[in-house]
């Protein structure tokens, strides 16, 4: 007997999510490459300074700061924007899973997934312990 599953099966949902994630990674890599080109052309001959930890300037520590600087075509900020897109891909995966479990009417896992999403949002919003 063949069993045809119609609608939101785990496998189908996972495949959509998988492709979504890959698209996010490709987009992130392209943005990082663009930023890298600007950064290396302008600052490539400068001496690096990674031996001493100073921490990044505040502009590069928050999404709003990164976007504002990237709009000025600042190379390092554009790279950071690409990294933010990359960081958003797992968050998008979890958010999409909430929706998918809701479509499957799996209430238990809607709650489980919402807890994971809450931890991610807590961390993104600047929460630490």
């Amino acid at each position: 007997m063949t069993h045809r599953s119609v609608g939101w099966t785990d496998q189908r949902v996972e495949l959509i999510i998988g492709n979504l994630l890959r698209a996010g990674v490709v987009l992130a890599a392209v943005v990082v490459l663009a930023g890298a080109a600007i950064y290396l052309v302008r600052h490539g001959s400068a001496a690096p300074h990674y031996a001493v930890f100073q921490g990044e300037p505040t502009d590069l520590r928050s999404p709003s700061g990164v976007i504002a600087e990237a709009a000025k075509l600042q190379g390092r900020a554009i790279i950071q924007l690409g990294l933010l897109i990359l960081l958003a891909t797992p968050v998008a995966r979890v958010a999409f899973s909430v929706f998918a479990f809701a479509m499957e009417r799996d209430r238990l896992y809607v709650i489980v997934t919402l807890i994971v999403l809450a931890v991610l949002v807590f961390s993104l919003a600047g929460g630490t312990l």
């Binding site: 999510i17 921490g55 990359l86 807890i115 931890v119 961390s123 600047g126």
Partner: protein, 278 residues
């Protein structure tokens, strides 16, 4: 050495790490931080920030390929992610309070353990036995494809697996690694989930776990774009090439060689940490 030269060298090193990481299944992340700190003299906090970013890239980039194989179990993964993400937030918060030398020593010990696991190989669970009440309640039991058709499995010891996952998440947040080896052990050894299901489910958990701590690292200014750029691009390309080569490749000898490399790096990390040079 100027910025362009350093960027190219780090890119090549990360490419190689990503390639070997994919072939051995250990992930490229665990050898990048030792490479950046020991070979290039980069501060361990910058190194951890850059590695964390590359871990997300490999996890998200490989997700679609793993899903097609039909092994990953999203319910097991999502439930255990409660433990790994909370662990990651704890680990990343701890990272700011511990001296870098202590982090280096812990890093070295985790590396040593990974080398041991890599050379020994992992005992493969079949996922048989009696159904477990909690696992049934959480609808974790499922099946995976085999040449003889789908084979069903039962999940066991959910609380033990959950606890181990918290530890894996905390180490991931503290050291900026994917903790893939630890995650597989929690699922394979403790919860007796079939090996293929463990590894593919672990892959998607790694990205979500890393994102939880990466956000904290970003706010602390540990993620330097100039450094994270060659690491992320290198590891991503290397692991994609590695995943292609993997089909049909004999990995036994390679695992052993990689295990030895990791062990040497581990001892150097511990030594440098103890002598206060990191």
């Amino acid at each position: 050495m100027n910025t362009i030269e350093l960027t190219i060298l780090i890119w090549v090193g990360s490419l190689l790490a990503g390639f070997l990481g994919a072939l051995t299944g250990l992930g490229g992340g665990i050898i990048i931080t030792p490479l950046l700190t020991l070979a290039f003299g980069i501060d361990i906090r910058y190194a951890i920030g850059a590695t964390l970013v590359s871990v997300i890239a490999t996890s998200s980039g490989a997700a679609a390929a793993y899903v097609k194989e039909g092994f990953s179990n999203i319910r097991i993964g999502m439930f255990l992610e409660i433990a790994t993400t909370v662990g990651a937030v704890v680990g990343a918060s701890l990272a700011a309070r511990l001296p870098t030398t202590t982090i280096a020593v812990i890093f070295g010990m985790v590396l040593l353990y990974s080398a041991y696991v890599s050379s020994r190989g992992i005992h493969e669970s079949a996922g048989d036995g009696q159904p477990d009440r909690l696992a049934t309640l959480l609808r974790m039991d499922s099946s995976y494809p085999t040449p003889d058709g789908p084979r069903s499995y039962h999940v066991h010891a959910v609380p033990a697996g959950f606890g181990l996952m918290f530890g894996a998440g905390a180490l991931s947040g503290l050291l900026g690694i994917g903790s893939g080896a630890l995650k597989v052990i929690a699922m394979d050894q403790a919860m007796r989930i079939p090996f293929k299901v463990s590894t593919t489910t672990s892959n998607f958990m790694i990205g979500v776990t890393a994102a939880a701590s990466a956000a904290i690292y970003l706010r602390r200014g540990y993620i330097d774009p100039g450094l994270a750029m060659p690491v992320m691009l290198g590891v991503l390309m290397g692991s994609m090439i590695g995943a292609r080569v993997l089909t049909g490749a004999r990995t036994g000898v390679l695992r052993l060689v990689f295990g030895v490399v990791v062990a040497v790096l581990a001892i150097e990390m511990i030594y440098h940490g103890l002598t206060g040079r990191l």
